[in-house]
């Protein structure tokens, strides 16, 4: 059987062309499908403006990743079927050690893709903070009035304080719809992470640190809150459900909570961005 090195040059060029054409075709088809349908399946949902932005970000990234997968799939299926050693004596392949065209094109394509992704991600990030915790000095601060809500993480429950409502603290998270919320996440003991799944918010709760995240809620919905950083025994059980409700309902809820927790108000510490309970507490 003739070795590949002895095939006429026309057939040799065919391999590359075939792979490129089929790869390109499959890439285009799959990318279009992904770009159109991706928004429906990709997380985190549309509970907030930040979440919708993240869905777009995920769709763009999946759309860029898809041609990579498609192209490489075509390449490997082709190579692994066409260039098999078909039995008999061991024969060497052509001694190809380098090809400057391939090298240059590969570097150009990968670098461009990577730089685009980094740039697009930065743009999305700086637009509205993308729901991530930005530390005590955030740079992507949305303009306009924001409702401050403090998330206190402790072992093993999240509690929430509303400083603009008299420092009310409750174990439930209720937010008004279509409002910009400024979340201040802190911890009283170990490192936790406040993850409001459908709102697209995640901010680690570090003891002694005020981690600020911004989220603009959309319409009324329910969302899950889970702890995303191992914090001890009940880490897996540290979750609850939060609600986004219409403004009027929110105000009514706050009033009822203030009534319920009135006897407790005098014992709550003054609102602060971090709290340092005495770590040396001992039992009796």
């Amino acid at each position: 059987m003739a070795t590949p090195a002895s095939k006429p040059s026309a057939e040799r060029a065919d391999h590359g062309k075939r792979v490129l054409i089929v790869g390109a075709a499959l890439s285009v088809v799959s990318t279009v499908l992904v770009a159109v349908l991706g928004g429906r399946f990709l997380p985190p949902g549309n509970g907030s403006v930040q979440a919708t932005g993240q869905v777009l970000d995920n769709t763009v990234m999946l759309a860029i990743v898809t041609p990579v997968i498609a192209g490489l799939t075509v390449f490997f299926v082709y190579v692994l079927s066409q260039f098999r050693h078909r039995g008999g004596a061991l024969v060497d392949g052509p001694p190809l050690r380098d090809d400057s065209r391939v090298r240059v094109w590969w570097l150009v394509v990968t670098s461009t893709t990577v730089l685009f992704l980094a740039g697009f991600g930065t743009y999305e990030l700086l637009q509205n903070g993308s729901g991530g915790g930005q530390g005590p000095n955030p740079i992507a601060v949305p303009a306009g009035p924001k409702l401050p809500v403090q998330v206190i993480a402790q072992q093993w429950q999240f509690t929430y304080r509303y400083p603009t409502y008299g420092g009310l603290e409750t174990p439930q998270l209720v937010l008004p719809a279509n409002t910009y919320v400024e979340l201040h996440v802190t911890s009283l003991d170990a490192i936790h992470s406040f993850w409001a799944v459908e709102l697209g918010v995640k901010a680690d709760a570090n003891p002694g640190v005020d981690n600020i995240a911004f989220v603009k809620t959309n319409g009324p919905s329910t969302f899950h809150v889970r702890c995303a950083e191992l914090c001890g025994l009940w880490h897996g059980y540290m979750f609850n459900n939060g609600r986004v409700v219409p403004e009027a309902q929110f105000t009514a809820w706050v009033k009822s909570q203030q009534r319920d927790f009135a006897p407790l108000l005098k014992y709550l510490p003054k609102y602060s961005t971090s709290y340092f309970p005495d770590p040396q507490r001992r039992a009796g």
Binding site: I152, Q154, Q155, W156, Q157, T159, E169, T170, P171, Q172, L188, D189, A190, G232, L233, W234, Y237, N240, D260, F261, P263, L264, Y267, L268, P269, P277, P279, Q280, R281, R282, A283, G284
Partner: protein, 227 residues
């Protein structure tokens, strides 16, 4: 052949040793440390299920209940014979009313988050403390809490005063010794596995007070197995 026979024997011994070690390892992991369930007896009153649950919290559980950790603080539950058991997984019926009595023999160490000084998720949002109806206690006076976050249930347990003359040493603690009595009622819903915990950092000797018994099922943490 002899050589093959020795090899087979060698492999068999190796497999047996591996199996033994794996078995020991897995059994060590599943060792009961208070995590076996205690089924609370159910009565029916007028077609409705009612449960009486008696619990005590102690400052040191003692070598009888825990040879490995006699100085751990712990919850104990009383069975129908009046005997105290160190089990923190309690089996309750679904859609039932649960009357709880807690005897607290421990002194106060104070809450980390004062939010838990107010009873929630119980009938009347209040509890009886030594016979007096209470809607909030001083957070610094809290010794332990009984909280079921999935039910929104929080009950702070007041501590015995520091000047108490007859504190309990090791469990089980007799009611003649200094204690506080807390009673309340809550309702179970549908079946499930609901964890409960204490929110007071009461583990002496661990930084932040949240180590040791606070992170071990069978002492200050457990489950309500609602079936």
């Amino acid at each position: 052949m002899r050589a093959t026979g020795f090899k087979v024997l060698g492999v068999a011994i190796g497999l047996a040793a591996a199996g033994l070690l794996i078995g020991l390892y897995v059994s060590k992991l599943t060792t009961d440390n208070g995590s076996a369930a205690y089924t609370v007896p159910v009565q029916t009153q007028g077609g409705h299920k009612v449960v009486d649950l008696s619990i005590e919290t102690v400052a040191a559980v003692g070598p009888q209940f825990s040879p490995a950790h006699p100085d751990y603080v712990s919850y104990l539950v009383r069975d129908t014979q009046g005997k105290w058991l160190r089990r923190t997984v309690w089996r309750l019926p679904a859609n039932a009313t649960v009357h709880v009595t807690i005897y607290n023999f421990d002194s106060a160490s104070g809450l980390r988050n004062p939010l838990y000084a107010r009873p929630q998720g119980v009938d009347g949002n209040s509890f009886m403390l030594d016979g007096k109806r209470t809607v909030v206690i001083d957070p610094n006076d809290t010794s332990h809490t009984f909280a079921v976050p999935a039910y929104g249930l929080v009950i702070p347990l007041s501590g015995i005063p520091d000047s108490a003359k007859h504190p309990c040493g090791y469990a089980p603690c007799a009611l003649s010794l200094d204690h506080r009595t807390i009673t309340f009622t809550f309702h179970t819903g549908k079946a499930g596995h609901y964890r409960w915990q204490c929110f007071v950092p009461c583990a002496a000797g661990w930084i932040d007070g949240f180590g040791g018994p606070m992170q071990t099922i069978g002492y200050m943490d457990g489950f309500l197995d609602v079936i």
